[in-house]
Symmetry: C2
Subunit: 193 residues, 2 copies
DNA sequence: AGATTACTAGACGACTGGTCAGTTATACGC
DNA sequence: GCGTATAACTGACCAGTCGTCTAGTAATCT
């Protein structure tokens, strides 16, 4: 009957992600977490030393998954400009109204938890820096292969694009409508040329 | 000894704004609100029928103040491009690390409360639409007076800029650092020309 | 069998948003 | 001026939930 070590811990993390995505960090209580995961309440503190460490782990997990997804998307063949475009098309698709999962935790949890815990803030900072780094790398490749005209330094342009799409996600969330992504897409095209 | 009608209500709203800005909606309990405002707990429910209505009022208040500030900034003399620039310079200044007040509630509370209450979501939606509207109007004036070259329709460009700065605020919050605003400023300049 | 690790039940005190009977202040009729 | 009706306001209290902890059981290893 014994589960492999840490499998339960992972299960809690997996199950809870969509809970957090929908309701936020503070609004989701431990009781809800353990019920959803089908884990006894008392066990929670065996796997996590506090709710904060739990949130920390959740964010860590999220970024590592997200970054590996980004890496596969940005490291395919073809012109860098096209790869970049397909990444942001994926962004628009996944953040659209419907799907419950895969939502951007940076937008949803970032503002809430970064003031609650310095630890979580640092995870968010490191994660977003990494994402911008991947975008910057792809832009630099675009400069090299000629698919993206030079003009703005890759890291700066990358941060601009990320900001733009973060803001678009926020507006899409507030409006329950994917239209802001069209706006972001067109602005991005202008920034790239 | 009697206070003018609704003065206490207003006082609660005023005092609480910075609390919410720093800790978030769910994380701030009624007890903290009433203590900070120096108002008896029981009175809270005389002025507000629920915490949700209170949050609703807080956001309403925020947008009305913010919009009037934007209006005075965007309705001065001079070329529209300059007025626009001064608005976003104010944005960068006010959202910078130091000042406790005047923080953008759209970034801080938006993602958290829009899933908690449809009412609050609609206030946020209406408010952000209004802000974008003011920016769009200024851009249109810029098209007319020649200070902003034509190329992108004013409403679309306005939404792009707002997205960009919203995202910059989020990154600035996560990094406790105003650098993202420089990035946004330079991206904005490219979008405007 | 004994030692060690893996896991869990349940209760802890503090605190949550919310209620309402009761008190205090104002307004009005005489 | 006084009595009374009405509005303005309040604090003790509610049921429920919060995150946390500890004493304990169950499983595994030596």
């Amino acid at each position: 009957m014994k589960k492999p070590a840490q499998e339960t811990r992972q299960h809690i993390l997996d199950i809870t992600k969509s809970l957090m995505t929908n309701k936020g960090y503070t609004a989701v209580g431990l009781a809800e977490v353990v019920t959803a995961a089908g884990v006894p309440k008392g066990s929670f503190y065996y796997y996590f030393k506090s709710k904060e460490e739990f949130g920390h782990a959740l964010l860590d997990e999220y970024f590592s998954e997200y970054l590996s997804k980004v890496d596969t998307m940005l490291n395919t063949d073809g012109p860098a400009a096209e790869r970049l475009l397909s990444y942001f098309r994926y962004w628009a698709d996944s953040q659209g109204t419907d799907l419950p999962d895969d939502k951007c935790l940076v937008v949803k949890l970032g503002p809430e938890v970064c003031d609650l815990s310095e630890d979580m803030r640092l995870v968010l900072k490191k994660g977003t820096d990494a994402i911008i780094g991947r975008i910057a790398k792809c832009i630099a490749q675009g400069h090299a292969d000629g698919s993206i005209p030079a003009g703005t330094e890759a890291p700066v342009l990358a941060e601009s694009l990320y900001q733009l799409w973060l803001g678009a996600s926020l507006l899409a969330k507030l409006g329950k409508d994917g239209a802001p992504f069209d706006t972001a897409l067109s602005a991005m095209e202008r920034l790239l040329h």
